[in-house]
């Protein structure tokens, strides 16, 4: 069953584009990454799926339920962590957690206690006194404590220290193994690579790639680093060219014979050909002119 199925989802804020014609499919039980530069439309997509904003065109279903007409049923099965977790002033952590559980009409006290312990969150602290990272932990516990079928997490690790990040992803993996679907919107590509099976890349409000992380990472391009001189002008397939003291470094996805010919004509003292970093591969999705 599809956990998320969006077809032609479009949202404009007046004349400003949010997302346009977005098609997205996430199967139940997936650990799915959602990536894209700032302003690409990631949060708009999430807010539309959760019913906080209404799409202008298109539609989406979560577990087969329509986001326009079955919002409450969808939210009953969904835990959401916003990118900026803010709560009502003057409350203690345990009061926020109890309020969230009461709003779901569930007793989540055992799960909340376990999560607070694992994330090292003191439930007796006042929300107003918490750092950004600790407020994020409160948001995480709120999203997870009801053990929802679908977790939608928008930039979840901002402000968390590496140990807590590790613990947080351990919890997500456990939930995922138990069958929960995880939809992770993130800028941190290493998180996507480490934890997600599939990912979608969003740019300028449209989906430009959606595949397994392995397939998205696969590329013919290589990182070429050389010391010396060679005439590279006119060669097709060069990206991300950087001067490196007495040489250059660039990503090359063009004809290898043509490159070797140019290098043979130049004066090269050292040459290395390596696979590009995952970050480098994803960056080319982000840059319009290079795709």
């Amino acid at each position: 069953m599809e956990a998320i199925a969006a077809k032609g989802l479009t949202k404009y804020y007046g004349k400003t584009r949010g997302i346009e014609g977005l098609d997205l499919s996430v199967e139940e039980g997936e650990f799915f990454g959602f990536i894209g530069p700032n302003g690409a439309g990631k949060s708009t997509t999430i807010r539309t799926l959760l019913g906080l904003i209404t799409p202008n065109r298109g539609n989406a279903k979560i577990f087969g339920k329509d986001i326009r007409t079955q919002k409450t049923a969808i939210l009953r099965e969904t835990g959401y962590l916003p990118s900026e977790a803010l709560f009502h002033p003057g409350m203690k952590v345990k009061e926020v957690l109890r309020l969230s559980a009461d709003l779901r009409n569930k007793d989540c006290s055992a799960a909340a206690e376990m999560l607070c312990e694992r994330l090292k969150l003191d439930p007796s602290r006042k929300i107003d006194e918490l750092s950004f990272g600790n407020r994020k932990k409160v948001g995480i516990v709120c999203a997870l404590q009801s053990e929802p079928r679908l977790l939608i997490l928008d930039e979840p690790t901002g402000g968390l220290d590496p140990l807590i990040q590790h613990e947080f992803f351990e919890i997500l993996r456990e939930r995922n193994r138990k069958g929960a679907t995880v939809f992770l919107s993130s800028h941190v590509l290493s998180e996507i690579r480490r934890y997600c099976g599939r990912a979608a890349v969003l740019r300028d409000g449209s989906l430009i790639a959606c595949d397994s992380v392995e397939a998205l990472s696969r590329t013919n391009a290589r990182r070429i680093s050389l010391r010396g001189e060679a005439v590279l002008e006119g060669l097709e397939g060069i990206r991300d060219l950087k001067q490196t003291g007495d040489g250059v470094s660039f990503l090359y996805g063009g004809d290898l014979g043509a490159l070797l010919g140019r290098l043979a004509e130049g004066k090269i003292s050292d040459l290395s050909v390596t696979e590009p970093e995952l970050e480098e591969i994803f960056l080319h999705y982000y840059r319009k002119e290079e795709v």
Binding site: Y13, T54, T72, Y80, P82, L86, F87, H88
Partner: protein
């Protein structure tokens, strides 16, 4: 009822402050009455000869030497303005604060539905207004008994009922406005209450603007008129309740479809 309880808890300090201030001012006014009633004959004459201001505050219709007349003008202004400000502020804030404080993402992603969220929030506003009025009514009556005055039950009950209905109307209108707002709600609430108050003064002063009283909830809770005539103006009251219903209806039409920023 989770949101009702949450709202009441969140608004507890503001409620106690407003309630305490209005009750204290009313109590002081009542405790000053025995001392002042002997001087009220000259005060009444003076107030009755202040031209448009006399008409604006209805001071030509009352005898300040009686507790009813004194209460309708002096205490009526305290309760009228204080209650109106409180009702307008909490009703304007109740929906819009979630976007202003960026807590809407938390609240509206729980499985309740916006209509239920609105209904519980509206109920919390009504409960606070009812409690405020009951407490103030009790303190007023106890203060009158404490100073040894005979309590004019009919007039006092009518006055308090009128102020209560006025706060309900303002709350209904402001609740409607709250559904459209994203921020700046407190100043807007205060502004609406002040605007309504002055609309009533203008309606009292100028014959050509007298129809304004149908648009302002202060139109049917003119203390001087109620105390003098012993009844509420049914037509103005009906117009007020219709405006209240329109405000609430506007909120229910807007908020369930509103894009949450």
């Amino acid at each position: 009822m989770t949101i009702v309880r949450h709202e009441l808890k969140q608004g507890r300090t503001a409620f106690l402050i407003w309630c305490g201030c209005i009750a204290a001012l009313l109590g002081i006014c009542i405790f000053l009455f025995p001392e002042m009633k002997g001087e009220m004959d000259t005060v009444s004459e003076m107030f009755a000869s202040m031209g448009v201001f006399t008409a604006a505050f209805g001071m030509d219709k009352l005898n300040f030497g009686t507790l009813t007349g004194y209460y309708a003008i002096e205490c009526g202004n305290v309760l009228g303005l204080g209650g109106a400000f409180y009702a307008a502020i909490i009703a304007t804030d109740v929906l819009s604060k979630e976007e202003r404080m960026h807590t809407a993402d938390f609240l509206l992603t729980h499985p309740l539905g916006r209509v239920r969220v609105m209904t519980e929030k509206l109920a919390s506003v009504l409960i606070r207004i009812v409690l405020l009025n009951l407490l103030i009514y009790g303190i007023s009556v106890l203060s009158m008994a404490a100073v040894g005055e005979a309590i004019p039950w009919k007039e006092i009950n009518l006055l308090h009922l009128a102020y209560f209905l006025m706060q309900l109307e303002l709350a209904g209108i402001c609740f409607g406005i709250s559904a459209f707002l994203r921020r700046g709600s407190v100043s807007i609430g205060l502004g609406i209450a002040v605007l309504m108050y002055f609309m009533n003064l203008i309606a009292n002063i100028t014959e050509s603007a007298k129809d304004l009283k149908y648009l302002t909830p202060f139109g049917f809770c003119d203390g001087a008129l109620i105390a003098a005539e012993g009844k509420l103006d049914g037509v103005v009251l009906a117009a007020g309740m219709a405006l209240e219903a329109l405000g609430i209806l506007a909120a229910y039409l807007k908020y369930p479809k509103k894009d949450i920023a």
